[in-house]
């Protein structure tokens, strides 16, 4: 194509690993047009980040580019000497990274990190450089640029740091920007701000963006064209609209099916069985064949090529699948959008298993000469909630809102500063240490990071039986071993796993082991602390299915702590939204997500990128304030688009809006409760 700015031809990147040479990128072709946003989508290990680093020739030491060409305006970057390549980096092709907190140099000021790019790539000197840096900070939406210029990265929040990264990247006005998961480390409301910024800059500067992401929602929002990567290859390239209307490769289709959505409530999520094949070997056939439900004999013996589909109206679509030689795949079937409201209403009829009243966790802040306590971080500041037996309560909020602390305080893994927790009729704070220890079996927890939640030095059998031994579940060791075997079966792992160590398992398998460990002591309640946020979409689906079926069979209640709204929609019966240590809105899932009342809830929901991609976003300015110094009055008022003078005066009382529903906002004070707020369409109903 003539107007392409960056063209990647047959790129192959190999990594030296302990198990042999890994073909992380194995023949990738991409054309990036001027001013276009091109998304490269894939799960972890697909090779998308390695592709990006190869373009910049910034591979880690174990990596090398084995073959291919990277043409920037017709000039092959891979053939350039290193010195000439350095003149390209930052000047013509710039890059931003996933983790803004580590990607900036901690001991250089923000200003210095921007000016060094300007000095390197432009003829500007002296005051002009600084003026340009200030202009850049302004352009990326950093308020008070002159002051921020002198600050160090640690003084900036995550969102601001990513803006500084973007300013660095834009400093020399590059033609291409490579953004490697630019918002993965950020909260949704901040993510929305950064995505807006990128879209605006792209439009203004006619810059091409290569966006690397795992999130189909972000793709729908940002990209004009999409390429899906799997096991080092591109399996599908298409224009965005065509792709989202009807993905053609079986893998792309599966990615959509595995996404939890409200429409799939009550049904099992589609999962991709098996794992990505090891990239150290050679492939005889299609790389997806082992996991593909529609594979046939030919797929095993013949490597598919990227082909255009006969009879396809969209010109730019290419798919790597033998099946598509016969034509387009049938459009995806819409699942019934009817939600069984019945089950949701029935929540309240179940007995309450655990109830927290005015739960508080305050961490003291020590300062001054003698480390006196000068204040408190109010991580959890008066949370009340009730969880019904066999039901799921989702605790939703952004990072730093105190949701994890609240979950741990509920289990008394952190000693609460105030309030009480009543579990099965017993007030936990009145229990003796020993009684509490004995009662621990009834409440368990599953953690976020499957790599940190299993002791690497213990066999799976020991990990699973540890809790039983400690709590005297089971008669003897033999009895416990039977139970352990049963548990493994319940979570879908083979018996051989017992004698192995955690490092032999993948992330999803480890999370199953962690679930089995919690189940071992027959809990009534499990606190699930972001159990899927470290997992790929297809693995997430497996874990969600498992949790759901365990609840149906065993009647366990879940406190599901998450920031992922789509999981809530799929799994939870009730929702509580937290902001700065307090619950600001609660109700059944349909109530809260379908018709959010609190302005924060509304903004939060609107910021979540979804695959349908057509939603008006309520933009929130600023960031989450520090829980050490919450704003006076309503904590949310400095960011609230509907704030009134009164909001500053006192924290709003909870307003009961129905049998199951409360909201802490003065918009709904008794008098106003009747008049409905203007705002959004219902969410659960849209499809």
């Amino acid at each position: 194509m003539s107007n392409s700015i960056l063209e990647v031809v047959n790129l192959k990147t190999h990594l030296d690993t302990a198990t042999g040479e890994l073909r992380a990128v194995d023949g990738v072709d991409i054309k990036l047009r001027k001013g276009e946003c091109f998304a490269l989508v894939g799960e972890s290990g697909s090779g998308k980040s390695m592709t990006a680093l190869s373009l910049m020739r910034l591979l880690p030491e174990a990596g090398r580019i084995a073959d291919g060409r990277v043409l920037l305006d017709g000039q092959d970057l891979l053939a350039l000497p290193e010195a000439a390549m350095r003149a390209v980096r930052g000047r013509r092709v710039a890059m931003i990274f996933q983790e803004p907190s580590t990607a900036l140099n901690p001991v250089l000021t923000v200003g210095r990190q921007i000016t060094e790019v300007i000095e390197r790539h432009t003829a500007l000197t002296g005051e002009a450089v600084r003026a340009r840096a200030l202009a850049l900070l302004d352009a990326v939406g950093i308020p008070d640029a002159a002051r921020r210029c002198e600050e160090y990265p640690f003084q900036l929040s995550g969102g601001l740091k990513q803006r500084v990264m973007i300013a660095c990247a834009l400093a020399a006005e590059p033609e291409v920007l490579i953004a490697d998961e630019p918002t993965t480390a950020l909260d949704v409301t901040i993510q929305a701000q950064i995505l807006d910024l990128l879209a605006k800059l792209q439009a203004e500067r006619q810059m091409a963006i290569l966006l690397i992401t795992h999130d189909l929602g972000i793709v729908a929002r940002m990209a004009q064209r999409v390429a899906v990567m799997y096991a080092g290859e591109i399996v599908e390239i298409a224009d965005r609209d065509a792709f989202f209307a009807a993905p053609q490769h079986p893998y792309s289709q599966k990615l959509f099916d595995a996404l939890p959505t409200p429409e799939k409530r009550g049904t099992e999520l589609s999962v991709i069985p098996g794992q990505v094949p090891p990239l150290t070997g050679k492939f005889e056939g299609c790389r997806f064949v082992e996991r593909c439900e529609v594979a046939y004999l030919r797929c095993r013996h013949e490597v598919p090529q990227l082909i255009a589909i006969p009879g396809d109206a969209t010109a730019h679509r290419l798919v790597r699948c033998h099946l598509r030689e016969q034509g387009l795949a049938p459009p995806p079937q819409n699942v019934s959008t009817e939600v069984e409201e019945g089950t949701l209403v029935a929540v309240a009829s179940m007995p309450v298993i655990v109830e927290a009243e005015n739960l508080k966790v305050h961490f003291p802040i020590h300062k001054g000469l003698f480390k006196r306590t000068v204040g408190y971080v109010r991580a959890v500041d008066g949370v009340s909630l009730a969880i019904h037996a066999g039901r799921t309560l989702a605790l939703v909020g952004e990072s730093g809102c105190g949701k994890t602390t609240a979950g741990k305080a509920l289990l008394r893994l952190i000693a609460p500063t105030g309030g009480r927790v009543v579990f099965a009729g017993k007030d936990l704070s009145t229990l003796s240490r020993n009684a509490l220890r004995k009662g621990r079996g009834a409440m368990q927890i599953i953690f976020q990071d499957p790599y940190a939640s299993l002791n690497p030095r213990m066999r799976i059998a020991d990990i699973l039986s540890e809790g039983m031994r400690s709590l005297d579940v089971g008669r003897d060791d033999k009895d416990r071993m039977y139970r352990v075997a049963e548990l493994l079966e319940q979570v879908g792992l083979p018996l051989e796993a017992l004698a192995r160590y955690p490092h032999e398992f993948s992330g999803g398998q480890r999370q199953r082991i962690a679930i089995a460990r919690a189940l071992a002591v027959e809990p009534k309640l499990i606190v699930c602390d972001e159990p899927t946020s470290a997992l790929d979409v297809s693995v997430q689906a497996q874990i969600l299915n498992l949790l759901k079926s365990l609840q149906e069979r065993l009647g366990i209640a879940y406190l599901f702590i998450t920031h992922n709204i789509s999981i809530v929609e799929y799994l939870a019966h009730e929702v509580a939204v937290m902001y700065l240590g307090r619950i600001i809105e609660r109700g059944t899932t349909a109530e809260v997500l379908g018709d959010p009342k609190h302005p924060y809830t509304q903004a939060l929901l609107s910021a979540v990128p979804t695959v349908d991609g057509k939603r008006e976003i309520i933009r929130l300015g600023g960031e989450l304030p520090s829980p050490a110094h919450p704003p006076a009055g309503c904590h949310f008022h400095p960011r609230c688009p509907k704030a009134m003078p009164e909001c500053r005066e006192a924290y709003p009382e909870a307003v009961q809006l129905g049998r199951t529903r409360t909201v802490n906002c003065i918009l709904y004070r008794a008098s106003k409760a009747a008049s409905s707020t203007p705002g959004r369409r219902g969410r659960c109903g849209t499809g």
Partner: protein, 325 residues
């Protein structure tokens, strides 16, 4: 930040008290003054009178911690603990076995010690950092490989070998410098060159390897990749980005030894006959002069604690994260 430093200084007090108690226990409880008198006078033919006389001459004839026979405050002050240990806090060290004023000796001998230790420290730091930077810059090349091999070999050689070998070569075979001795003023340079060179060479192995590890660790970090993505040259990346970050652990690691430079080096000073605190200590150890050893233990910890405080201050200088908190 001010409160932070004041707090660190206050924290030094209980530590010094602890050091004092440890030395008191070591010197007066493990062995009583009677034992020491017997030791000094020769264990065989010693009369009780001689012991009493020896103790009285040196002020060891007092009770250890509580003088029941004394009046008023002397019950506490008229003890060995007060006279010999507590008074260390005001740098009153008393007299050595050969009846010289220890504080005066320390004041006089500090400077020759420093004259040797300071150049070793500064030149050594510069040489090691340069060498480590070279290895880090040419990482995974032959220079790096053989550099590390040389470091490991050099740190496997005993300091004594460097000293003896250096003296033998430079003084005995080549007759470049005097084999040992010391003189005041500029003349000292003649005597100091060899020990300084030996001190620097002896330290290269361990330090360079350690710094190299620090540099490589920094070079693996994300911000270095960012710097490269900006198109900066490898030299700028190394000096502006990596060096500044790696200097934080290096500087704070070496600052702690700066005050202890006054104490000098035991081995070097005794081999080269430099009249510093190091040779003073060795002589005292070999003559079993406990008063001097006790004073040196105390003053050594004072210097170390000053070093710790300087470390804390240096953190605030080099690391903005601490300076601005």
């Amino acid at each position: 930040m001010f409160a932070y430093i004041v707090r660190r200084i206050l924290y030094a007090i209980p530590i010094l008290v602890g050091v004092n108690l440890i030395t008191f226990a070591l010197f007066f409880i493990v062995n009583t003054p009677d034992d020491m008198a017997r030791m000094q006078l020769g264990a065989k033919r010693v009369t009780p009178e001689a012991i009493e006389k020896w103790k009285a001459e040196r002020g060891y004839d007092l009770p250890l911690v509580w003088n029941a026979s004394a009046e008023g405050s002397a019950k506490a002050t008229g003890t060995i603990f007060f006279q010999k240990s507590v008074r260390l806090f005001v740098f009153d060290f008393g007299f050595s076995e050969d009846k010289r004023d220890i504080a005066g000796e320390i004041r006089a001998r500090m400077w020759p010690s420093l004259a040797l230790a300071l150049p070793v420290f500064l030149v050594g730091l510069a040489v090691c950092i340069t060498f480590a930077l070279l290895m880090a810059f040419f990482r995974a090349s032959y220079l790096d490989f053989w550099g590390v091999v040389a470091c490991v070999a050099m740190m496997s050689i005993s300091t004594l070998f460097y000293i003896i070998g250096g003296q033998y070569l430079a003084s005995k075979i080549w007759h470049l410098v005097p084999i040992s001795g010391y003189a005041g003023g500029l003349d000292a340079v003649r005597f100091l060159i060899l020990p300084v060179v030996i001190g620097v060479v002896g330290g290269i192995g361990a330090s360079s390897r350690w710094y190299r590890t620090l540099f490589l660790e920094e070079m693996g970090k994300d911000y270095v990749r960012t710097a490269r993505a900006k198109g900066l040259t490898e030299g700028v990346v190394l000096f502006r980005h990596v060096l500044k970050n790696a200097m934080i652990p290096i500087l704070t690691g070496v600052v702690v030894v700066i005050p202890t430079l006054f104490l000098g080096s035991l081995l070097m000073e005794s081999f080269f006959g430099i009249p510093g605190l190091g040779s003073y200590t060795i002589d005292a150890i070999q003559a079993q002069d406990f008063s001097v050893v006790r004073s040196m233990v105390f003053i050594g910890s004072v210097f170390y604690i000053v070093g710790l405080i300087l470390t804390d201050i240096s953190y605030t200088v080099v690391d903005p994260r601490i300076r601005l908190e």
